[in-house]
Symmetry: C2
């Protein structure tokens, strides 16, 4: 499906043109520390090397790469943020090393291939925004055969959780439907039009909004009630667009907390900076967005609610089928189909839950 560039700009890129938005990322300490350490604890990957920063935004990763000793850094940015990046490079006196190029990575050309591709391409639950497509494109065109990817690996995690959000959202949904019924009455009484034929569509619309849209949430580790499992592992050096445009996985998770409520699933990701097999990192760095007491990121976690909650016990096993595809209307958004079978520790098969979600 061809993507209309104008639409993509209006829907996706536009927000990245604001310093305010770049600042939010620059204030994410977990994110910043991870990239900072990845670069400065592995200077051998940068010293005297050529680097491509895919989506440089404010220019931060390009600047660090230069500070770590890169010979040349190409910093490509699709939005007007490129102008700020250029100013920032100059103010830090790196204009001889960092070349800021305004344009889509898909459209621009570089004068040479590079030793390192660095990029912060991760969206909610890793793949929202589908920006890794652009990194793949950059890699296939501009990375030397011996080149290194920063980050080098990524994985997606899913775990059973407990949460009050289900009640809340169900409440919101019910309030909205009550309100709809008053509205129907009023419209009939005051304006002589019977709108009840729209009830089903309205209810579906509201259900989708309140109950089938995954929620950004900052989960506390205590809310995770069973073993997290990996639903996807990506080797950034070899992954193809086909590999990442669908995620299908069957996982099992056993409940680790006694007498709890299964309210849904949480999803998060981590990325790793390991260098490449023949040219390993001296110090491996990990950036995780897992539920954490004090290491939260702006990505938070995505919550997929199952309602009503199901009582579960330590040792119960969950068989989860997880499938994620891209939205047909917008290739940067995702749809998830979750299936969950609960097998009680006693051996009794309890229940099969199935639900579709939208990551919007």
């Amino acid at each position: 499906a061809a993507v209309d560039k104008g639409v993509d700009f209006a829907q996706y890129f536009c927000t990245y043109g604001y310093l305010y938005h770049q600042k939010e990322m620059l204030c994410d300490k977990v994110r910043m520390d991870a990239y900072f350490n990845a670069i400065f604890k592995n200077k051998h990957h940068f010293l005297g090397k050529t680097v491509l920063d895919v989506g440089t935004g404010s220019g931060i990763l390009a600047i660090w790469s230069a500070q770590a000793g890169a010979r040349k850094v190409y910093a490509v940015e699709a939005t007007k943020m490129s102008e700020h990046a250029r100013a920032l490079v100059k103010a830090n006196n790196l204009q001889d090393v960092v070349e800021v190029i305004e344009g889509s990575i898909e459209d621009i050309t570089l004068p040479e291939k590079v030793d390192v591709i660095i990029s912060e391409w991760m969206g909610y639950f890793l793949l929202r925004e589908s920006m890794f497509d652009s990194v793949i494109c950059a890699r296939d065109r501009w990375l030397k055969p011996t080149g290194v990817m920063y980050p080098s690996h990524a994985s997606m995690w899913v775990a059973p959780i407990r949460s009050q959000l289900g009640e809340q959202k169900m409440n919101d949904y019910e309030t909205s439907m009550e309100d709809w019924h008053y509205f129907l009455e009023d419209t009939e009484t005051n304006y002589g039009v019977d709108m009840s034929v729209l009830t089903k569509s309205f209810s579906e619309e509201q259900e989708k909004y309140y109950l089938q849209t995954s929620l950004w949430n900052c989960l506390h580790p205590h809310q995770v009630i069973g073993n997290p499992s990996t639903v996807k592992e990506i080797d950034c050096l070899t992954a193809t667009i086909k590999d990442i445009s669908e995620v299908r996985s069957h996982i099992t998770s056993s409940i680790t907390i006694c007498s709890s409520r299964l309210c849904g699933f949480g999803g998060w990701f981590d990325v790793h900076f390991r260098g490449r097999m023949e040219d390993l990192a001296q110090e491996e760095v990990e950036l995780t967005t897992a539920p954490s007491v004090d290491g939260n990121t702006h990505w938070g976690q995505q919550v997929f609610l199952l309602y009503p909650p199901v009582s579960v016990n330590e040792g119960d096993n969950l068989n989860v089928s997880f499938s994620m595809t891209r939205s047909k209307e917008n290739h940067r958004l995702l749809e998830v189909d979750l299936g969950c079978e609960i097998h009680q520790a006693s051996g009794k098969h309890l229940q099969t839950l199935e639900k579709k979600f939208y990551i919007d």
Copy 2:
């Protein structure tokens, strides 16, 4: 400037595809009563006539037109809402009169010219969304020479106001800038990058966001501290796109409250259903979005803040130059240049204030 249809859909039409959004309009009692009365108190305009509803949404105005006795109603809607409109028409047994057509009014063809064009095309401060362009297009192509416009007239009002919003927004702005300075320090200390070169741009971005963007607000009549003046009058039967794509006006307003604070200006609109000169309404109806104690609309008023407030007194005169143009980036958004000279009742010329605003 040619408009990219895909972008226009992504930015503008998309929200109208939700019943939730249509319902918000259908719950606006002032709006609903005005159109309802305009139609049913002027049945002679509809009885046995052909009607075009430009942007039918849920179909409500088309249905009323049919219920008022129209022979045929063409109900044109650009979004998938057309399907709900069609279902609603059927459920109200009007499928022989109302024909729902999915498409842009600019693109579709009708089998005949019509006697009445009805449309609810008004955006914030009347002209935001630029939907009246589409009504003009419909009128020029499909209205009979004797045809009637519903509504027939529109006007835009501006008045001096007092409000706490200025303090609030100035506070938000200042907090954001303080935060920025902490951010600069942290980034320098922790990550060795000096971002202070971006301070000016960040400050401008935040100023634009907090202080130069007009605000949706529900003003209380007491907040209006001087005479409202008309900055634009539109005759829907004759107005051209050129007429409405710019508003330039010099108005005067005298302060009607003793020892008050001029905090900015409020803007609103009203529309009138007067029929046409040769075919007048039997009962004229007005829909006003002026500040009101209990007749508020979902349009509210637009507030243009001047900060800091200026002390004014009863009898002081304001000379206001008001100019509104369309945003170059998005023809559905507006930009306002406001100039205000304050002449004290004592004869002393106090101050000239000038400011640019964005209606986003």
